[in-house]
């Protein structure tokens, strides 16, 4: 079985400082991978390198394209990479405001990716937008409201709908539940888990919230100071941490 994403020795430096270095892993279709670590450990740098927002200084990121199999996205041309990022990839930002057009209605936000791949039938675009708003539990009557009129949790769900509408195969998520209160977080996680299963999505989730990865991720990667210090199955890493830092991380979670 070919991996969907093959990451080989990715490194990104900010001058002399390390962003992330020596990261390698394979991600298979349908698999969800969590990346945890403290602030400044290089999680977001790594995610941005994988999603093509940053150019890594070293290494290769190979994606299993529909047309010609594994291709290195670092060296592919910009039009191809941008095409991937609006069809086969999705990126869910921590702050919904970064991923949404705040002055465009919810329907327009969901429809944008469809129109970007040449959907030119208003009725069909609208039907699809209504369908997707329903799937993320946003009422049909809110379709013409702007995201500014939505609560934080709704904005985040709208961002997810907007990203998944073109049926991507790989979703990058950067702290998808950050800044939301716990009950909203729980519903969002429930929704995400359902969508991931239903659409057989592969996902890479960056978070510092261990509960999120426990729920969503099949595999876990722990990062510190730009290095991967521990990898394994989620339950294995969380229940039997080997590295001193992972042990610290797991024991730092507050118990209610």
């Amino acid at each position: 079985m070919t991996p969907l994403l093959q990451v080989e020795n990715i490194a990104k430096f900010y001058g002399a400082r390390i962003g992330c270095t020596d990261v390698s892993f394979d991600l298979y279709p349908g698999e969800v991978m969590g990346i945890v670590g403290e602030s400044g450990s290089g999680k977001s740098t790594l995610l941005n390198c994988l999603a093509g927002h940053l150019t890594p200084d070293r290494g290769a990121v190979r994606f299993d394209t529909r047309a010609d199999g594994l291709r290195d996205t670092v060296t592919m041309s910009e039009p191809e990479r941008r095409m991937l990022s609006r069809t086969d990839w999705a990126f869910v930002h921590q702050h919904a405001r970064d991923g949404l057009r705040m002055n465009v209605s919810a329907g327009g936000n969901v429809g944008e990716r469809l129109m970007a791949v040449n959907a030119r039938h208003y009725g069909q675009i609208r039907d699809k937008a209504i369908d997707w708003l329903g799937r993320v539990e946003i009422g049909e009557d809110r379709i013409d409201d702007r995201p500014t009129a939505f609560s934080g949790g709704m904005q985040q769900r709208l961002q997810i709908a907007r990203n998944l509408v073109t049926g991507p195969r790989l979703v990058f998520m950067d702290e998808p539940t950050g800044g939301l209160d716990v009950s909203v977080q729980a519903r969002l996680l429930d929704l995400l888990r359902g969508l991931v299963r239903e659409m057989n999505l592969s996902a890479i989730i960056v978070t510092h919230d261990l509960a999120v990865v426990r729920l969503l991720a099949d595999r876990l990667m722990v990062m510190k100071d730009g290095h991967v210090i521990e990898t394994g199955l989620t339950d294995q890493v969380l229940d039997d941490p080997q590295h001193a830092y992972t042990q610290l991380l797991v024991s730092s979670v507050l118990q209610v």
Binding site: G108, G111, A116, V117, R120, Y122, I143
Partner: protein, 289 residues
């Protein structure tokens, strides 16, 4: 004529602008950056159009200026006088007699010929500007032909107004490649963008020139189920009875009285000369003109 160089601008500047115009004609719809000069008028009054006109005018040309279709508004009169003074060219109000026509917000009703040049004044040349504020990003979108965002604007129109409510500056795709802002002409004029004459667009403040060569394909963007429709006031001209021209609405008293009249004053006057009389019009007399 010793006070100014011919047509105000110095020869080097005109050469620079002509190079931009030629590049624009070679890549229809592409916005060519140029080193826009200070002109003796404020930005927004047609500094871009004036510079383009100055670069294409020759001593043998006949010059016409229209503002919202009219030859007799302040803007049109002052630009016409400007070139009368600095270039000494012949001026006219008749569309058919002009070889260079500078326009703001209209295309003349009369079809232009292959030996005529239409110069547009453009306030904001970037059609994607109100959706994407970053110039770096919009240039990239043009380069990579990523025009999905333009349809988001039309989508918003339909979802809010039930129809494509954009009535002017209606985005077009030129020769199947670049999406272009045709300057704030009413969408009624969009079909006329495919014409025999050369069309040049100058944006002074934004420092961009673009062009449509003669007989170039210009398609107004739309949805399959909401096709593009040029619209005008559902009325006939009250002065000349024309039913095919773009109309201005004029409030004539404070009791709800109004009249519609051709925005193209030359077209209207010609029709009245030929004896057409509208609902509120009086027969044409020489001294009126």
């Amino acid at each position: 004529m010793s006070d100014y160089n011919f047509a105000y601008l110095d020869e080097q500047t005109k050469r620079m602008i002509r190079r931009a115009i030629l590049k624009g004609l070679a890549i229809p719809g592409y916005q060519v950056p140029f080193a826009s000069r200070e002109m003796p008028m404020p930005y927004g009054w047609g500094t871009g159009g004036v510079q383009v006109s100055a670069a294409v005018l020759t001593p043998d040309d006949t010059f016409k200026v229209i503002d919202q279709g009219a030859d007799d508004t302040t803007n049109a009169v002052s630009i016409r006088r400007f070139f009368q003074k600095t270039a000494g060219v012949a001026i006219t109000e008749a569309t058919s007699k002009a070889s260079v026509i500078q326009t703001r917000h209209r295309i003349p009703e009369e079809n232009l010929r292959a030996d005529q040049i239409l110069v547009y004044q453009v306030p904001i040349p970037e059609p994607l500007r109100f959706l994407e504020p970053s110039e770096v990003e919009t240039r990239k979108m043009h380069a990579l032909e990523e025009y999905g965002l333009m349809h988001v604007k039309l989508y918003e129109d339909i979802s809010q107004h039930g129809d494509i409510a954009t009535a002017y500056a209606y985005p077009v795709k030129v020769e199947g490649r670049y999406v272009m802002d045709p300057s704030p002409i009413p969408k009624f004029d969009n079909p006329k963008l495919e014409m025999a004459g050369i069309q040049l667009f100058g944006a002074g403040r934004e420092q961009r020139i673009y062009a449509i060569p003669p007989y170039t394909q210009v398609v107004s963007l739309d949805f399959d189920d909401y096709p593009f429709q040029p619209t005008k006031a559902d009325h006939a001209c009250d002065l000349c009875a024309a039913e095919d021209s773009y109309l201005d609405e004029l409030i004539v008293d404070d009791e709800g009285g109004r009249m519609f009249m051709c925005s193209d004053t030359d077209y209207c006057a010609n029709r009245r000369k030929q004896g057409h009389v509208g609902a509120q019009g009086v027969p044409y007399a020489e001294d009126q003109a």
